[in-house]
Amino acid sequence: MPEIALTTWQILLLKVAVILVVVPMGALVGGYAEHKVMAHLQHRLGPMYPGGFHGWATTLADGIKFLFKEDIIPAAADRKVFSLAPAAIMVPIIMVYLVIPMDRTLVVEDLDVGIFYLLAISSLSTIGILMAGWSSANKYALIGALRSAAQLIAYELPIVLSAAAVAMLAGTLSLNGIVEAQNFPFILWPPGIGLALFLVFVTGAVAEMTRVPFDMPVAESEIITGPFTEYTGMRYIFSHMFAEMGHMVAFGGIATTLFLGGYRPIIPWEPLELIPGVVWFAAKTMMMIFLFLWIRPTFPRVREDQLQKFAWKFLIPVSLALILFTGAWVLYV
């Protein structure tokens, strides 16, 4: 095969292009999975028509439909902020994908500060939500945005702390390094602590995505969809649908990387190494996504103040304690 010499810039552009294809695809597939999996959990079928075979083209059809919707900006809204908010929400999510390793070399950029970068970037979307709520000139949107901001900030900490514990276990902040350090996935080893860290992380992730059971800002704020009430058409898709689905896949990927062993097989057994890493990664991410989808129809919503109490009075102390235990483990085991 002839060697194609590409400059670093060209390679980078190529990788970015791949990401820009992967993320929407992920969102589409995630959205379809949400429809169908939730439907079957609820003893019904879900979409069956679009595309013919069990409605595989549902999200695609939805996206095209939204293209045709009228683009409304409320008269009293702050136009610039209103238009920028979806971007402010979407871009950090896309940037998260840049460091997630799908195989040993299938990563856009293996940063040495992988986790740090990841967590920092993902919290930027909070600002986007605040922008959306504020600029909508809608009291309810504002309330939703404020609730959402409070929630996201509160649940950043459990994520960060549990990720920090993982970094301690792996000895490195780089995501590739973390995966390489997992002969056995961290969820299994250290026993107990790993599982607890995983649960804390998942709870925080679900809250970060404002999904049930923590979707108070979105589903109830007096009116549906809280900060995104005034958004229509493509703006709505980008700020709400894409964001939520993209977030879900991203967090699925991150959880896989941190706790489930990423692209490595579950146990270090020779025959399992034959299966390519991408397949392992995809399978584990899909399991994570299934977990998120499974939780959604099962639980009622947690009230805002109970949510905050849960985060500050329970999750954060627990994750601090877990850091303590992890430290002990690393030192003495």
Binding site: H43, E220, F299, P300, E304
Partner: protein
């Protein structure tokens, strides 16, 4: 009705207040409804909010008033039977029962035993339908979207039983003074028992999804407490009253239509919060299933219509009949002047009185609690407004 006018606030005033250590806040009047997914129909609640706390709540009803009591003055009793099942539409046949009983009392008709047992079986099946619907809506308002679909699936079997007998799934028009319109077709008993047993089989699902769920408990335990004396003074009845420690059930205390032949319990709970009301609802489903089984397995043979004159004319007189609607005590006060049409039919609906207790319960609750409380106050708009 509480209203607040928007004051134009001067900046200096704000500064003055803040310097004194007070944060100048205003109460906001929020309109919950009449179009709102959380209220069961066109129900409007004028909520005065202080931040997240409801300071005052005024229900505004009447958006669905159809003028029943005037309509029935121009219709004869069979037509009224068809109209009246549209009040509490979730359990249509229970609305027809007090009318039939009232006429039978006035005209002194004796109803054959088979008709009475069939009436009981159908009313109890409708009670299960009603309660299942509230499992669905209560869960959905709190965010648990799955019980909705399960409940509707359970309802299908029972509705099929009703449809094969009466022809309708929601509005039946089946009870007549003296008995029933026609007898049940072959397969009704089997279908009814199947439907009811399926519900009981699947009740543990609801228990695990709702009652046993910690998040649900957090949202409903000690939320929206309706004290017993307040419930008494507002005339609250039905599962809401029984959730507030009022162990009163018309079926047990003043039995009608051979309810005293059946063995069932009346459940009540002491605390009066949303959880207790839901608990009572859940257990009432079990009891209704028991009654349906007893009624069908012990169904006597015979005619389903008593001796009724060709033209149904109630003699001069008045009667008040009350029955246990799934939502509470449904009463019909029938004043007749010997005509084919009533002179006056006053309908005492349970939801009307139940909803009147809302302002008390909603005081000083959070907005999200308001949603939970509205969900736990089982009311149907058709029942409130008639």
């Amino acid at each position: 009705m509480a209203t607040t006018e928007d004051r134009v606030v001067d900046a200096s005033e704000v500064a003055a207040e803040v310097s004194r250590g007070n944060l100048l806040t205003e109460e906001m009047v929020l309109n919950v409804g009449p179009q709102h997914p959380a209220t069961h129909g066109v129900f409007r609640l004028l909520a005065t909010l202080d931040g997240e706390v409801l300071v005052n709540a005024d229900p505004v009803i009447g958006y669905m008033h159809r003028g029943y009591e005037k309509l029935v003055e121009a219709r004869d009793y069979r037509q009224i039977t068809n109209l009246v099942s549209r009040m509490d539409w979730l359990s249509g046949i229970n609305n027809e029962l007090p009318l039939a009983l009232a006429l039978e009392t006035l005209m002194e008709i004796e109803v054959p035993a088979r008709a009475q047992y069939m009436r009981v079986a159908m009313c109890e099946m409708n009670r299960i339908l009603n309660h299942l619907m509230f499992f669905a809506s209560f869960g959905a308002e709190l965010g648990a979207i799955t019980p909705t679909f399960y409940a509707f699936r359970e309802r299908e079997d029972i509705q099929m039983a009703m449809e094969m007998t009466t022809g309708g799934r929601m509005h039946f028009g089946f009870f007549r003074p003296g008995g029933l319109k026609e007898d049940a077709p072959k397969g009704f008993f089997q279908q009814a028992l199947k439907g009811v047993r399926q519900v009981i089989e699947r009740l543990p699902d609801y228990e695990n999804l709702l009652i046993g769920n910690e998040i649900f408990k957090q949202r409903t335990v000690n939320v929206g407490i309706l004290p017993q004396d307040v419930a008494y003074s507002y005339g609250v009845s039905g599962p809401i009253a029984r959730g507030s420690d009022i162990s009163f059930d018309v079926r047990k205390d003043e039995p009608y239509s051979s309810y005293d032949h059946f063995d069932f319990n009346v459940h009540s709970a002491p605390n009066g919060d949303c959880f207790d009301r839901f608990w009572v609802l859940l257990h009432e489903v079990v009891e209704s299933a028991k009654i349906v089984e007893q009624a069908i397995e012990g169904m006597p043979d015979g005619p389903i219509m008593g001796k009724v004159p060709r033209v149904v004319q109630a003699p001069k007189g008045e009667v008040y009949v009350r029955t246990e609607n799934p939502l509470g005590e449904l009463g019909m006060y029938l004043v007749s002047d010997g005509d084919r049409r009533p002179y006056r039919l006053k309908i005492r609906t349970p939801s009307y009185s139940n909803v009147s207790a809302l302002p008390y319960v909603l005081k000083n609750t959070y907005v999200s609690d308001m949603i939970a409380i509205l969900g736990s106050f089982f009311f149907v708009l058709g029942d409130i407004d008639r």
